[in-house]
């Protein structure tokens, strides 16, 4: 007879669990792999059927993403001087010449400014509000908390028209500030609720000890509460950033020239010189990176953040 443990899972169940997790990972990762591999394909390779798993990688998609090109007549192409630089050479290979940079870099930068800006603002305001809700006697506290959450009870796009009109009147349409404020307004309810939960879990005694040790309320908050809440702040920041980063509907509606973010821009690449799937895929791949890096950097916190409070230490 072999001894078995009550708490340790059996070999079979471990094996089954491992298999399920692997399967799930494959299913979720497949679209990513698809996008990333398409971004390194040539135009014909990207639409070939059956799909090519093995192909000769090229950065055509990335060159096309960052440039605008024209397709001159073949006779004209032959009369041009030899290509100047790698990008020009890759463009020539496709029978095009580069006429200038595309607006992708600019749109990407807009996404970074608006995404991180609104995340930072949501976190700052959310942490302060959550602290106040957690620690102070706020009149009508429960009603206020419900009101804050109620902004999440409908899809934000349902109020798109009033916001559109409001923004036009206020001159906030198509501005970075306008988009940062909008995304902050959407995210703040999530931030307040999540962070209040985290701050509630921090024993008051820490601050009280600091107050007695001669610190002011704000110093105690900054030096004692904030380091304790780092985990919660990090995971809240990830959720806020993912929303602001991926938001499409408001971005389409409210931005066009100046403050347009990457999500509404990427689909427009399709229209430039035929269906350039590698360029679209390249845009999507680059667009994934910042959130991916941010999440990987904070992932230790994220995991602890999600399970926070489930088991008291």
């Amino acid at each position: 007879m072999s001894a078995y443990s009550v708490t340790e899972p059996s070999k079979v169940s471990k094996w089954v669990a491992g298999l399920l997790v692997t399967l799930y990972a494959i299913i979720t990762l497949l679209p990513l792999v698809w996008i990333i591999s398409t971004s390194f394909k040539t135009g014909p390779d990207s639409i070939s059927y059956p799909p090519k798993v093995f192909f000769e990688p090229t950065v055509e998609g990335y060159v096309n993403l960052f440039t605008t090109r024209t397709r001159p007549a073949v006779s004209e192409l032959d009369t041009l001087p030899p290509p100047d630089g790698l990008m020009e050479e890759i463009a020539r290979r496709q029978g095009t010449i580069i006429t200038g940079p595309s607006r992708f870099a600019e749109r990407f930068l807009n996404s970074v400014i608006i995404g991180f800006g609104s995340t930072a603002l949501s976190i700052i305001l959310g942490t302060l509000a959550a602290y106040a809700f957690s620690r102070f006697k706020v009149p009508l506290k429960d009603d206020l908390l419900f009101f804050i959450l109620s902004t999440r009870m409908m899809p934000p796009i349902a109020v798109a028209i009033p916001i559109y009109l409001m923004y036009r009147e206020l001159g906030l349409s198509d501005t970075h500030v306008g988009m940062i404020l909008l995304y902050t307004a959407v995210n703040i309810s999530l931030a307040v609720w999540l962070l209040k939960g985290f701050i509630d879990e921090i024993p008051r005694e820490y601050e009280e000890a600091a107050l007695i040790d001669g610190y002011t309320r704000f110093q105690a908050f900054r030096k004692v509460v904030l380091p304790q809440a780092a985990t919660g702040i990090a995971s809240t920041a990830i959720f806020c950033l993912i929303f602001a980063w991926n938001e499409y509907a408001f971005a389409v509606l409210l931005t066009s020239g100046n403050a347009q973010t990457a999500p509404p821009f990427i689909p427009t690449i399709i229209g430039v010189g035929g269906q350039d799937w590698p360029a679209v895929a390249a845009g999507a791949t680059l667009f994934l990176l910042p959130v991916m890096i941010f999440t990987i950097l904070l992932r230790k916190h994220l995991l602890r953040g999600i399970t926070f409070g489930a088991v008291r230490k």
Partner: protein, 364 residues
């Protein structure tokens, strides 16, 4: 160090009154216990002295200065919490140094002070450890270190031994008292453990339902409880209560229980109606000839002594007797009550009747 005077201190939380009109004085250098069951207002009182709660009304004087409406940071008080409240993101050294850093003390001086304090508390070998891995006793030492490092006017301790194992509690109680005897720092200590209060305190305030029931030295409170609540709360086993109806005039030296006259300290005020005679178990002795009769119900052996539970017409009585005395459940016997140590209470008000014995110990 400082004297702390509490005058008519009151705290309301909405409709609930946590502390109602407390008054007492904590002398300079005293080890002062706030004792009572949970919810009696002792912690609220402590937190008001520390400045973590502001009183609804009343005065708190530290060294003659009214600080009742000042924030904690301006009161120069240190506090030790039940859950230690060590800053988890700092190591032992930083925890102890923290109050000094807040005052802007120069670095070299901070290091020196921390080393000094760590030595006193015998935690100098663990200064660079994170606080997370420490045992309960060591955590409490670090918390004490953080409190004593800046020589505050007074220490507040909120059940500092409550979170420790029984074994550590004993050791830390001794250490605390030894530390106090060495530093003579005014200390206010909250506990619900009457044994701890008796063992460590110079003075005790017993609170119940937000009211100060009695204030005095452990001995006075034990020997001459001012109310039925105090009599019941202090001592283990608790004081015996013999309930009877009777009348006694001022100056009387006996009361009549049923048909038995019982001698007690001379009454200084009249008492009548439903009364309670209080007697500590150690002041009950068994004697076959005594007129007050009882039946032995149970015997608990405690080594040198035993607790004999008897049923009498006036209620159950526990007697602490020598283990050598033979007592068998079912036996009928007589009870002698030691006259000078008896207390008489008015059952309706719950207050002790003033007698020659307790007159001197009651404060207001």
């Amino acid at each position: 160090m400082a004297e702390i005077v509490i005058r008519n201190l009151r705290k309301e939380f909405g409709a609930f009154t946590a502390v109602q009109g407390s008054s007492f004085t904590i002398k300079d250098g005293e080890f002062f216990m706030l004792l009572g069951p949970s919810g009696c207002g002792k912690t609220t009182t402590l937190r008001m002295i520390a400045g973590l709660e502001l009183p609804t009304s009343g005065e708190i004087l530290i060294d003659g200065e009214d600080v009742s409406q000042r924030p904690a940071s301006q009161r120069d008080i240190a506090m030790v919490f039940q859950m230690f409240a060590l800053y988890p993101h700092m190591n032992v050294r930083k925890n102890i140094a923290y109050p000094l850093v807040s005052q802007g003390v120069p670095k070299a001086q901070v290091q020196q002070k921390v080393a000094e304090v760590a030595k006193i508390l015998r935690i100098d070998h663990m200064l660079d450890k994170p606080v997370g891995g420490l045992s309960g006793g060591d955590r409490q030492r670090v918390a004490l270190g953080r409190a004593i490092v800046r020589n505050p006017k007074a220490f507040m301790m909120d059940e500092p031994l409550g979170a420790l194992d029984a074994e550590f509690r004993e050791i830390m109680a001794e250490e605390l008292r030894a530390l106090h005897d060495r530093m003579h720092a005014t200390t206010v200590y909250v506990t619900h453990d009457q044994l701890e209060a008796m063992q460590m305190g110079d003075k005790i305030v017993v609170m119940n339902h937000g009211v100060v029931e009695q204030f005095g030295t452990p001995q006075d409170i034990y020997d001459h409880p001012a109310t039925l609540f105090v009599a019941d709360f202090i001592g283990s086993p608790a004081m015996n209560f013999l309930r009877f109806d009777g009348t006694a005039v001022a100056g009387a030296e006996t009361v009549t229980l049923g048909e038995n006259p019982v001698t007690l300290p001379q009454l200084q005020e009249p008492a009548s109606g439903s009364l309670v005679l209080g007697v500590r178990p150690e002041h009950v002795s068994l004697s076959d000839t005594a007129p007050l009769r009882g039946r032995i119900e149970a015997v608990e052996y405690l080594g040198t002594t035993q607790i004999v539970t008897l049923s009498t017409p006036f209620g159950a009585v526990k007697a602490r007797t020598s283990s050598a005395l033979s007592a068998r459940p079912g036996d009928l016997t007589g009870l002698n009550l030691s006259a000078p140590r008896l207390s008489l209470f008015d059952a309706t008000t719950g207050r002790a009747v003033r007698t020659a014995a307790n007159a001197g110990v009651f404060h207001g």
